[in-house]
């Protein structure tokens, strides 16, 4: 348990209150449960659990020695997420087959792969293989180039 858990507990309590308030505004049902009753019940349960987590952390009062996030870690994870989101966003315009080799090459280099030739070959080969498997064998249409 740590300080982070204490604040997580508080955050969960706040979240559950927000959910409860949002659900309160939903229509009520005369028979059965209304659309808001189910989420309200679980929001209340979540509030209690959040309180329990915060209380548990506060009572134990363990000094937080563990560092959850390092600067390098944030840069690497954030960088990968950024290029992945860009990849997904650009896919409907550039298409799976053209875009994926670039994404894979960038991601592998970001992961620390050094041999550019191997990385490029794997990226292109894998992209073609997956495209063929899904479009020809599984008959699933993957995004195609539609920029023009």
């Amino acid at each position: 348990m740590s300080k982070v858990d204490f604040f997580s507990g508080i955050g969960i309590m706040v979240f559950s209150v927000i959910v409860f308030i949002l659900a309160e505004g939903m229509p009520k049902a005369e028979l059965g449960i209304g659309p808001g009753d189910y989420p309200k019940f679980f929001a209340a349960f979540l509030f209690v659990l959040g309180l329990g987590l915060a209380a548990q952390s506060y009572l134990k009062r363990i000094k937080q020695n563990k560092k959850f996030y390092s600067k390098d870690g944030i840069i690497h994870v954030g960088g990968l997420l950024l290029i992945t989101f860009l990849y997904i966003w650009a896919m409907p315009y550039i298409g799976f087959l053209y875009l994926t080799p670039f994404y894979l090459t960038a991601a592998m280099l970001f992961y620390g792969a050094k041999k550019l030739f191997t990385v490029s070959a794997v990226s292109i080969g894998f992209s073609i293989a997956i495209y063929w498997l899904f479009t020809s064998v599984f008959q699933v249409i993957l995004p195609r180039f539609t920029l023009f």
Binding site: V19, G32, Y38, P39, P92
Partner: protein, 499 residues
Amino acid sequence: MEFFLEGLSNALQPMTFLYMVLGVVLGIIIGSLPGMTASMGIILLLPLTYHLNPGTALVMLAGMYCGSMYGGSISAILLRTPGTPSAAATVLDGYPLAQQGKAAKAIGMAAISSFTGGLLSVICLILLAPQLARVALSFQPPDFFMLAIFGLTIMASTSGGNMVKGLISGILGLLIASVGIDGVMGTMRFTFGIPALSGGFSVVPVMIGLFAVPQVLWEIEHRGEQGSVIAQKLEGIFPTLPELKSVIPALLIGSAIGIFIGIVPGTGGAIACFLAYNEVRRWSKNKDKFGKGALEGIAAAESSNNGTTGGALIPMLSLGIPGDVVTAVMLGALMLIGVRPGPLLFTESPVVVYTLFGGLLLAQFVMLFAGLLMAKISPKILGIPYNILMPLVMVLCVVGAFTLNNNLFDVFVVMIFGVIGYVMRKHDYPAAPMVLGVVLGPMAESNLNRALLISQNDWMTFIQSPISLAFLILSIVSVGLALYSSMPKKEKTSEAVSK
């Protein structure tokens, strides 16, 4: 008996056998690809069935069904990405075992367990189909609701070391499942004006996001800290005799639970695998090993998910009521090829039915053989350096999510839940309870509503049905046992000393 022998000999005809092998092998491949489900596999094979006789077509589809249920375990074990929702529980012990260099053993165990569960379910199908079909008919909404509640009590035992965090994860899963249009009054819940959210979140993108993507992010965060390749021991695919003896109870319990859950309409392998995992863990002498690479955990999960195959076919064939999503698709396939499931099927088309039974029986052996072959070959994937493998996994996740509905929204869902899963993992919140909440939430809410509507808001309806009452008692016992086993050992020791 003569019908069965005739069916078996039909299934052994060269072309029928070949199509069955094709179904099994394709099923394993499709099952191992995240986002590709068994029902999609059956839909893909449908055009082939137009040119085949009904018996051969059924056998091929059944092979696809069995193969895909097993196939999901391969990516679950190697990449921490369940290929199908039914393999979600296999991740819990399969992946840690692969990280110990025993991926071949884990996949081999999965193959043997799938074979056992599938074989036992086919035997039940052959011998007891009409009798067991009555069980399917006896389930009413209160019973379904209590079954879901019983399933939700598993959250406590899939929480790992911290029950509070596990329950928080599970409740968040239940809330996530409530996003979208409410099933009774049609109210938009928590959609915030986003049209794509009106359908809510599908299980598969949430599952891929919570299991696979955090692993990819974890690896890039820790790149360079550990060796990029985990050496795999390729010998030892078969469990040793002591190991086999130790997993027999898990195989039998898992298979029984899988068959039972398969019979109940609207459930399926995803529920069965967690239920079986929980029960086997509860009664195991090696509880502490679960979650760290216990063969019993893999045995329970895999025997139960393949146990649902025969179980789900029982109400589908006998009553025309599908046991799960896959059999719902198969029902459509049967109609297309001119076979009408229902009470008269066994009398009107006995040859077709028993050809299916014979084919299913043979499919288990083909699946076992193919599975053990995969156990030799597929761990080589872990020999690929992580800086090459992880981006490939990410692309598979993206493609898998996209293929569900041909919609990039599902891909964004995968990434968002991937970030959530990564943060959860950093702070020791387990992902399995959240997946459980997303799977069981809709079933619990819709049946609660139906039960109350039918009973005119009389809550006593949940204890008036013997099935519902039995599940309620089981749920209370399950929660009690989970609370007892989570008590700190010091308190137990001090109690013993004071006595």
